[in-house]
């Protein structure tokens, strides 16, 4: 693991390992921003690693999804080929087995674009975390370009601060879940009208004491839904990376515990295959979490549209 500039020199190996793991999953600190922006209303708008990764993901989605589809749409009357074929199968899967059963045939075409955007964005943002491209860039920078690790003005050295998975940051997933929150309200409003949507939150025709309990519960549920979405995605992405790095760190910990290099190498025979297996699991988790976020968004939108009372 190549660590940029400021490796913490803690007293024990355990502290260093902990710092290293946190360093690999958290955002880069505001002391080392990639691009300096001024403060506006007291908020530092400087670009950190996760913001930069969001830009990278946006560019990747544009290149691999939006541009091929636009190109394909301009050609008339030809069967799709290559990349567009793959995209088409994903789009069809999401429309037919996620959106249509939950939202209903009437509103499919209204909400499929948003849910597809969620899916592709989260899939790419999750998946880019499994590609060690920045560590490779660090190796290139250190050993071929010969830039020292503590050079804080080098752009690539600054890139090495912080984690790669933007969706492992609670702020990113909170923003995505906020979009879901407003989507639920807008979907209900479009289907039933503004007043009727809020009336639909609770079933009508019950005895009045039940409403005293039911209305606070439903209002809480309104906020718990996006909160659970936030936590699920971010915690899954962070947790997988922590497990991976903790397994790899066992080598350093065992070597320190028994004061011998051989112990570290011996543990490597167990921990490296385990880490490889967990990486395989992580690739499944990457896809499943993108699927879960889109599925739950579709379910919540469907709950606002098709009221079962």
């Amino acid at each position: 693991m190549i660590v940029g500039g400021e490796q913490a020199h803690g007293s024990s190996v355990m502290d260093q390992v902990g710092d290293n793991i946190i360093h690999h999953v958290s955002n880069s600190s505001l002391d080392h921003p990639l691009i300096h922006f001024p403060h506006i209303y007291g908020i530092d708008l400087s670009v950190t690693k996760h913001v930069f990764m969001l830009w990278v993901v946006a560019a990747l989605v544009s290149i691999t999804v939006i541009i091929p589809i636009q190109k394909y749409l301009r050609r008339k009357n030809t069967a799709p080929s290559g990349l567009v074929n793959a995209i088409e199968s994903i789009v069809q899967f999401i429309r037919d087995s996620i959106v249509k059963p939950n939202v209903g045939p009437k509103w499919v075409n209204t909400w499929t674009p948003l849910i597809l955007t969620f899916f592709f964005f989260i899939l790419f943002a999750n998946g880019i975390g499994m590609i060690p491209i920045f560590d490779l860039l660090g190796v290139f920078n250190r050993f071929i370009m010969g830039v020292p690790a503590n050079d804080n003005h080098n752009f690539i050295n600054n890139l090495l601060h912080g984690g790669v998975t933007a969706t492992g940051n609670f702020n990113v997933t909170a923003a995505l879940a906020t979009i879901t929150f407003f989507t639920i309200i807008i979907a209900g409003t479009k289907a039933h009208g503004f007043i009727q949507h809020w009336k639909n939150l609770v079933p009508h025709g019950l005895a009045w004491p039940i409403y005293i309990i039911l209305i606070p519960i439903e209002l809480m549920g309104l906020l718990v839904k996006p909160f659970a979405l936030t936590m699920r995605l971010a915690a899954n992405m962070t947790g997988g990376h922590i497990a991976l790095l903790a397994l790899l760190s066992l080598m350093a910990i065992f070597a320190e515990m028994f004061h011998s290099v051989a112990a570290g190498i011996g543990v490597a025979f167990i921990s490296v295959p385990l880490a490889a297996a967990i990486s395989g699991l992580e690739i499944i988790v990457v896809m499943v979490q993108a699927y879960v976020f889109t599925l739950l968004t579709a379910v919540f939108v469907g709950m606002a549209i098709n009221v079962h009372h």
Partner: protein
Amino acid sequence: MEATAFMPIGFGLITIGAGLGIGKLAAAAAEGIARQPEASDKISGAVNLPLFLLEGVAILAEVFTFLMLIL
């Protein structure tokens, strides 16, 4: 002993509960598919949603425990 020292135990209990729930779901789904293989699409579709909601409960417990550790 502080009261907060027992909170991770509660979160562990939450995780056990969620695990039991997911286990029941998986068992029922496997049984249902074994009885009626042609309905496997419908069964897995019906199992997915409660599965992810239960998973969310376990993950919330994990996140809160982690936050208590670092805060």
